[in-house]
């Protein structure tokens, strides 16, 4: 599984406001990238553009050299899975049927699940530790369990690229760690490319290979956590005095000053 995602000169204007301005980025297959930045910097807009929920005003996004505008919606959904920040849980839907919906890009109306679909669902439930909860109602799960169920849906989609918009919002610290460990494990075991927006820079430093910092719709900093997370960079990024503690062999740690 590999798919090279490239962003060239991407600009987005929403309601007359330039939200993203001339972004050019590439995402190496098999890497884990965290996108950070202050509220309103265009992080979610960027992710939504990557899966063609929004159309670029200028520039293009290409997958293995093919402009995603030339791909059928189903084909794109077979290559890139996306979990929005707040998906809606339909009343009464159970975990297994939710995860089966990850097979949507491989299915047609009136066509029952095939063996490959069932295998993908079983594997996704297994990979996310949701097998024992598969008959539970999604709207009655705890926050952490529910998020695992949604990630299971994206895993069942069997895409080389996984995009997550703030997958740890509303979760307490142990569950944030649990989710990010799981994402890291999916990356290690299947070689999935992961692109996610995270608010917690310490967790981003810990679980990502690369951090992209966005500010006012442009890339402020881009590199490994060690390169990006410095007192000077972050203070400039967030317009707040911050300090960074750097211990040898450890990811950097951000603290208020």
């Amino acid at each position: 599984m590999s798919a090279q995602l490239e962003v060239q000169n991407l600009s987005i204007t929403l309601a007359g406001r330039r939200v993203l301005n001339d972004l050019s980025l590439g995402f190496a297959a098999g890497s884990v990238t965290a996108i950070i930045g202050p509220n309103g910097c265009g992080k979610s807009t960027f992710l939504r553009t990557l899966v063609r929920i929004l159309d670029p005003s200028h520039g293009a996004i290409s997958l293995d050299g093919i402009d995603i505008r030339n791909l059928a919606a189903r084909a794109l959904a077979q290559h890139i899975a996306f979990l929005p920040q707040t998906p809606q849980t339909p009343d009464g839907l159970r975990v297994a049927p939710l995860v089966e919906r990850g097979r949507t890009p491989y299915m047609r109306p009136f066509q029952p699940l095939r063996q490959t679909d069932r295998d993908a669902v079983t594997a996704a439930l297994e990979a996310t530790g949701m097998t024992d909860l598969k008959d539970r109602r999604v709207d009655r799960l705890s926050g952490g369990q529910r998020q695992r169920a949604w990630i299971a849906l994206t895993v069942a989609q069997q895409t080389p690229i996984l995009i997550l918009d703030e997958p740890t919002t509303y979760l307490d610290l142990p569950h944030q760690i649990e989710i990010l460990r799981m994402v890291r494990k999916l990356n290690a075991e299947t070689g999935k490319t992961v692109i996610m927006v995270l608010h917690d820079i310490n967790l981003a430093s810990h679980y990502a290979d690369r951090i992209i910092a966005l500010k006012n719709g442009t890339v402020a900093f881009d590199g490994t956590p060690q390169e990006v997370v410095s007192a000077a960079n972050l203070s400039a990024l967030f317009d707040t005095d911050l300090q960074v503690r750097q211990d040898a062999g450890q990811p950097p740690l951000v603290l208020p000053k």
Binding site: A73, T86, Q88, P109
Partner: protein, 316 residues
């Protein structure tokens, strides 16, 4: 047996029982195989009423649950968001202008379809968001009801009574050609909606999730709303407005089956049962008069709407 099998068997039994009672027992027992007059009564009076109630109820039930699920809102059924009111206003306008009830059906179909198109157009903001669509539909519905009242009070007595007769939804005037129209629309529309439940159910996860799975929410909304509007308009054309059947069938089907999503077939069955039940009640003498079926669905529907609102607010 699973819960859903039990439900279908019970529903089938209920429908058959009601149909049999209405056809053969009804107001006076019939002997269609031995008495020729009884056969005529059965084929030309009782059978079309039962058949019309069945196909109308099924069509309303399916159209209702599809739109409710599509718009993620139990209040967003076609009879609440203006399609029935549009059809009724269209029929009333045609009756008053033409002076006869002959073209009322065409007026209903046109009125309902134009209303649906108007609701979609007014709700369009570079895409269709569910909540504005519902609010616009409810506003138009109230406006159209007022317009119908105005027409009614301006119309000469003869047309006014024709309009009043039309607006009291009923299966009493059933004829086989009406059954044919509604049956065809229910079957064609039902298959179309069944095809779309795949997308409609997935839209329940939000537009972004649906798009990420390769679906196009706006196209699905336009097609499903349009087809449901035609189904509801034709039902008004053949039987007048039968309130609350479209509104109640889906929530009842979901409650009873404990399933999520459109539950299309079961909603259609429950719609048919509601309509047939109302038809059975309308055959009974109440205070010395026969009340039209629409009165009974409204009598059940009002309290049921309150109940659903109550349950919904309690869950949140």
């Amino acid at each position: 047996m699973t819960r859903i099998t039990v439900l279908y068997v019970t529903l089938a039994g209920l429908l058959l029982g009601l149909a049999f009672a209405l056809l053969v027992v009804g107001q006076g027992e019939l002997h269609p195989f031995s008495v020729p007059l009884d056969r005529t009564i059965l084929l030309h009076f009782r059978a079309p009423r039962v058949a019309l109630a069945l196909v109308t109820g099924a069509g309303l039930g399916m159209a209702g649950t599809a739109v409710q699920t599509l718009l993620r809102n139990p209040l967003a059924s076609p009879d609440i968001i203006g399609f029935s009111a549009g059809a009724a206003a269209g029929a009333a306008l045609v009756i008053v202008v033409s002076g006869t009830g002959v073209w009322a059906g065409a007026g209903a179909v046109l009125g309902g379809s134009v209303t649906a198109a108007l609701v979609l157009a007014l709700a369009w903001r570079g895409g269709i968001a569910p909540l504005p669509l519902v609010l616009i539909g409810v506003s138009l519905s109230l406006l159209l009801a007022a317009a119908t009242d105005v027409l009614l009070s301006l119309a000469p007595d003869l047309q006014a009574s024709e309009v009043t007769r039309f607006l009291s939804g009923s299966f009493a005037g059933a004829e086989w050609h009406r059954v044919g129209w509604m049956g065809a629309i229910t079957i064609i529309g039902g298959v179309f909606l069944a095809w779309h439940t795949f997308a409609v159910d997935r839209l329940g996860m939000g537009d972004d999730m649906a798009r990420a799975l390769g679906l196009g929410p706006d196209g699905v909304r336009i097609r499903v709303v349009a087809v449901s509007a035609v189904m509801v308009s034709v039902s008004v054309a053949v039987a007048g407005p039968i309130p609350f059947v479209a509104f109640l069938s889906g929530p009842l089907a979901r409650q009873l089956s404990k399933q999520s999503g459109t539950v299309l077939l079961l909603s259609g069955g429950i719609g048919a049962a509601l309509a047939l039940g109302a038809e059975a009640l309308s055959g009974m003498l109440i205070f010395g008069a026969h009340l039209p079926a629409g009165v009974f669905t409204a009598l059940i529907g009002g309290p049921a709407m309150l109940g659903i609102l109550f349950l919904n607010t309690r869950q949140q």
